[in-house]
Point group: C2
Chain length 201, copies 2
């Protein structure tokens, strides 16, 4: 079995949500697994002096149009949340903790969080929304809620984000590593598909 595709995301990124659906299809086509890694875009933006796309006046307006157009093109359900962006630390840390226990369940959880925000417009910074999701997936609510408050989990998650931003040099989302080759952006997934088909160029 070939190496998995490494996928770095922040729950508050529209392109990371769209990209998560797109990379899933491409990976399946090529018989690859996808390893999901949650991180905080805020930490990445800090070192780059950049911000969320929608914080730029003209680029923001264009991006909103492009989110919708990309979603339509790939038939991905999408509704731009009216309250954007969100701090998604609890969900992100919860995903990190869950990944260590059950990677597949963690992915199901992540997809549900993305759908809650980018399809149903729910406030994923609200812990009760996250708890509704864990409940619907038969994840032990108490264990989850206590884990994301634990110092050891907080510390390990923080170290993981630092490693992603400082070592892997991830500066935006979605970000992918395909056999070590970096690709940034949902709009590069077309090239990932071709890279996997041809073996690179």
């Amino acid at each position: 079995m070939s190496a998995p595709i490494e996928f770095y995301f922040d729950f508050s990124s529209p392109y990371a949500y769209l990209g998560s659906e797109m990379i899933g299809r491409v990976a399946e086509k090529h018989g690859r697994r996808v390893n999901w890694h949650s991180f905080m875009l805020g930490a990445a933006f800090k070192g780059e002096n950049t911000g969320p796309l929608t914080s730029y006046p003209r680029k923001g307006e264009y991006s909103r149009r492009d989110f919708d157009r990309t979603a339509r093109k790939y038939n991905i359900p999408f509704n731009m949340p009216s309250d954007f962006p969100k701090t998604t630390l609890a969900a992100s840390r919860g995903f990190y903790w869950l990944s260590g226990k059950n990677e597949n369940l963690a992915k199901v959880f992540a997809k549900a969080v993305f759908a809650a925000y980018f399809v149903n417009g729910q406030d994923i910074s609200d812990l009760t929304i996250i708890q509704q999701i864990t409940k619907s997936l038969d994840i032990d609510e108490e264990e989850f809620s206590s884990a994301i408050q634990q110092d050891s989990v907080k510390k390990a998650y923080r170290a993981s984000v630092e490693e992603i931003v400082d070592e892997k040099k991830v500066f935006g989302a979605p970000y992918f590593l395909v056999d070590g080759e970096p690709f940034w952006g949902a709009d590069r997934i077309v090239q990932i598909d071709e890279w996997l088909t041809t073996g690179g160029w």
Copy 2:
């Protein structure tokens, strides 16, 4: 004949150079003309509080890799200039003036300026380099050099840049309008191709 594709570029943008080659192929395939419009990225960046890609540490490093990878993928000659970015006001204003006289010749001039910078590593902020280009294309050197110093040309060019940035809301390069639909970035040309094939979605 269908409407031309509007193409907005700055001579100092690697992706605009790569995009100019890529959009030319896509336009030809669909029997469309491309209308080239030069503007100043600096003016666009000012209103957005953004900067050249290479000014961001991690994004810059990734971008340099991506320029090369994109060039290889599409078989476009490309050598990242060691001196980057450049102020390309003279070339850009000259292109603007030339477009008013002979649109096709202006495009040939633009392609030569891009190649001088992104293939041969020449300093296109140096007027003698631009004059070598005009000479090689049988453009009247004296007329060209005097035109780009004329107040009326300067003023008209400035108004054109303002219109592109303020009215068309172009915030980066390459930027395209395809039957009124905006597309930003060389990585969106794949979608332009599909848009022209399908009539949009």
